[in-house]
């Protein structure tokens, strides 16, 4: 993929640095707004995934860029922690975590897709979701070598399923790409980043930040638990809405697969991954809750944003 379009002075300076044309001083630059901030951080994180065709791969570990990344991460992490500050989870922890997720009653985009979204709105949602679905499961893979044995074994089982049980044809992000392509959308990673609102980039940045820092392994797995445990029933609604507006069956099939897969994954993630992690490393408890709440909170904020836009 190629680097995205700048959204303000900071992302513009960052792109100059990535293209090797300038070495800006970060002291003189601040993000103009949420778009500039989230896009800059998203771009920095992508260097650790499949990167950009127009950026030197060695820049992934460039101290000057890592300095900027840290400057952007700190206030964002503080923001997420603050929003989660009052969240309480009862004992036993796995039951409490499941309850926290089940009690979330934010607006459901999947319900709107099932019942009354137009075909154009469904396509728009797919373009926004594609920023994550085309790298589905990847951020959490960074957490794997940082875990005690029980959580590691269970996460490996979950990721193996995400990655198609070793069959590229069943790999989830590939299934999504096939569906996108059949629907006449671009299946290549990053194709729609320029269309993604700041809140979608923030969702992606949370996954990447939690995944890339060993220190945040609890948040990475808490996020995974909330993500998987809010997927089965909405996926069924997505599949039915996609069929209702006449989009291709391969796209609906991607969501069909998630109905059953995520009914398994939510139990693995909540009980065998987060539950055992908190038993083996009790110091991760708070971060598991922060990660889970951040996932729910960002999805609710995204849904509110999208519904407002569609209502206008």
């Amino acid at each position: 993929m190629l680097t995205p379009k700048a959204r303000g002075p900071l992302s513009a300076a960052l792109l100059d640095a990535l293209h090797g044309t300038e070495r800006p001083s970060w002291d003189d630059l601040a993000p103009a707004d949420e778009d500039d901030l989230q896009l800059s951080l998203w771009t920095l994180y992508e260097l650790s995934f499949r990167g950009f065709d127009d950026v030197d791969p060695a820049l992934e570990w460039d101290p000057h860029l890592l300095d900027l990344r840290r400057r952007l991460e700190r206030p964002l992490e503080a923001r997420w922690r603050e929003r989660a500050a009052d969240v309480e989870v009862g004992e036993p922890f796995a039951d409490g975590l499941m309850q926290l997720i089940e009690d979330d009653d934010g607006p459901s985009l999947a319900a709107v897709v099932q019942r009354d979204a137009t075909r154009e709105q469904v396509l728009e949602l797919l373009r926004w979701r594609s920023v994550y679905h085309l790298k589905e499961a990847d951020p959490t893979s960074f957490t794997l070598p940082r875990l005690p044995v029980r959580a590691q074994a269970a996460l490996a089982a979950l990721q193996y399923d995400e990655y198609g049980g070793g069959d590229p044809a069943r790999l989830h992000r590939h299934l999504f790409a096939l569906g996108m392509s059949d629907a006449g959308l671009r299946p290549d990673e990053g194709a729609y980043v320029d269309d993604a609102p700041a809140i979608v980039l923030e969702q992606n940045n949370a996954l990447s930040m939690f995944g890339l820092h060993r220190r945040l392994r609890g948040a990475s797995l808490g996020h995974l638990a909330a993500f998987e445990a809010t997927s089965s029933l909405p996926s069924r609604k997505m599949a039915s809405g996609i069929r209702r507006v006449g989009l291709p069956d391969s796209l609906a099939a991607y969501y069909d697969e998630h109905v059953e897969a995520d009914a398994v994954h939510e139990q693995l993630a909540v009980r065998l991954i987060c539950g055992t992690l908190v038993e083996d490393e009790p110091e991760t408890r708070t971060d598991v809750v922060v990660g889970a709440f951040t996932c729910l909170d960002l999805e609710n904020r995204f849904a509110e944003w999208a519904l407002e836009r569609w209502a206008a």
């Binding site: 029933l233 693995l268 065998l272």
Partner: protein, 75 residues
């Protein structure tokens, strides 16, 4: 190091079947489930969730429907 005790003794082997409170039964590995009508269903993923609430639309597999049930109807 945290978890060292656990690792020194070796964690207990994972069970083949895990009953999830209020939810499905997780089964590990490749096996065949026979439903109430005698129909056989082979698992097709490394871990599968068998519905215990009787309300799944993807029976015998769990599809998350148990979460929509009142607490007293959950397994």
């Amino acid at each position: 190091m945290t978890g060292a005790e656990d690792q020194a003794e070796g964690p207990r082997a994972r069970p083949d079947v895990v009953l999830c409170p209020g939810g499905p039964m997780l089964v590990f590995g490749d096996l065949v489930v026979e439903d109430a009508a005698g129909e056989q269903h082979r698992t097709h993923r490394p871990v599968s969730a068998v519905c215990r609430c009787g309300k799944s639309a993807s029976a015998p597999w769990c599809d998350g429907t148990h979460k929509a049930l009142p607490a007293k109807l959950r397994p």
